[in-house]
Symmetry: C2
Subunit: 211 residues, 2 copies
DNA sequence: ACGTGTGAACCGATTCACAGCA
DNA sequence: TGCTGTGAATCGGTTCACACGT
């Protein structure tokens, strides 16, 4: 077994797969499976056995030859690699229907992801508590995020205001953003990661394939 | 100019980029830009000039040498390629917070994507009208989707029930699905496309990069 | 002259195939 | 023997660089 090589480059695709593996492992743990082989994983996830092995071997050898991978051990290792074993508070901007739904989304809390701050420009919403989070004025976004030392943001506001809000968030110290508006955010910084959850674009590309 | 070569393989990644280009083009049209060059597009989207050209040339030559691309023409062509110039009704399963938010999501209607049917298992919700759509009993999902000839589905229900519902949808004729539950759907059919909007996995992979 | 369209070169990611270890 | 871990081979997608058309 080699030591983990964290300084070499690992593709974003591979990292997303790690998160996917974690899903699969949690499911297996739920039905009390203790050991899995790379071949087994192909039955529950759309991934090839050797891709699974290669992805993991990049960070070190977590399996036993002739046996397989311990579900518990591997889960913990992947959590450590991704960094999700620590708490990563999230700031949400835009508590409309979608933003409101995300505030209470059980899929987040299950994975150590907690929305700690929410912002809106609507006077009627400011001050209210939604899913345990007090909605603040978006005007105070910068100092509030800075003060709370939040590094992750989610954007659920209309297209027109997205760019400005994103810039404010970066100035406040946000390093990663999930953008739900169908527009491209322009931030020229290598230390800031933006991921677009463009649901309409996703649907549009699906349409191409079923035609 | 060569004729469009639709029989050769085009990667899903490239198709997603087409949808992205469409976003950019709509924005440009909004500010009355008539012509763009492949170099210009790099200023508003994270894509290289030659990738833009290559993606488009795969489907035929839509630009003028020495000039650029007409925004109007290119928009229409991409819409035709993707197939979004026609109406593609959508069926939504699970009208919880997230499902309810998607029902009224303006980002869909803007792009010809209309949710025409919604299903839930909650007796209190069945029969109610949300965002103009009457919620039906999920038990009647199969015949209802079949009757309405819907080909696209969206899944917003708890993990445990996802696999069964997905199978029912496929049996009813659904060819493409957007899955919002953090679980992998197993459908062994090449003519059915499943796209996972796994927001938690997305966040988890972002955490890796900001660590 | 200018920007598209495209074969060729390049590069990264996936898969193969087998050595190595339990 | 069985399954991991991994260099080598392969595959596909991106970029280069320039011929071509306006």
């Amino acid at each position: 077994m080699k030591n983990a090589v964290q300084n070499k480059y690992c593709s974003p695709e591979a990292i997303k797969r790690l998160a996917l593996y974690l899903r699969g492992l949690k499911t297996l743990r739920g039905v009390n499976v203790k050991i899995i082989s790379s071949e087994d994983i192909t039955k529950i996830l759309d991934v090839s056995a050797c891709q699974f092995r290669k992805d993991l071997s990049f960070f070190g050898g977590f399996g036993k030859r002739g046996v397989g991978y311990e579900v518990d051990v591997l889960s913990r290792e992947i959590e450590r690699i991704l960094g999700v074993n620590k708490n990563w508070p999230i700031a949400l901007v835009g508590v409309g229907k979608l933003g409101g739904a995300l505030l209470g989304f059980p899929g987040f809390s299950k994975f150590n992801l907690r929305i700690l701050a929410a912002y809106d420009s609507d006077k009627k919403k400011i001050g209210k508590i939604v899913a345990g989070v007090k909605i603040e004025d978006v005007k105070k976004l910068k100092e509030s995020i800075k003060e709370k030392k939040i590094k992750i943001g989610m954007i659920c506001i209309p297209v027109e205001r997205v760019q400005k809000v994103a810039e404010d968030m970066v100035r406040a110290g946000i390093k990663a953003m999930l953008n739900f508006a169908p527009v491209n955010i322009n931030i020229n910084r290598k230390d800031v990661y933006i991921s677009n959850m463009d649901m309409a674009a996703e649907l549009e590309s699906l349409i191409y394939f079923i035609k």
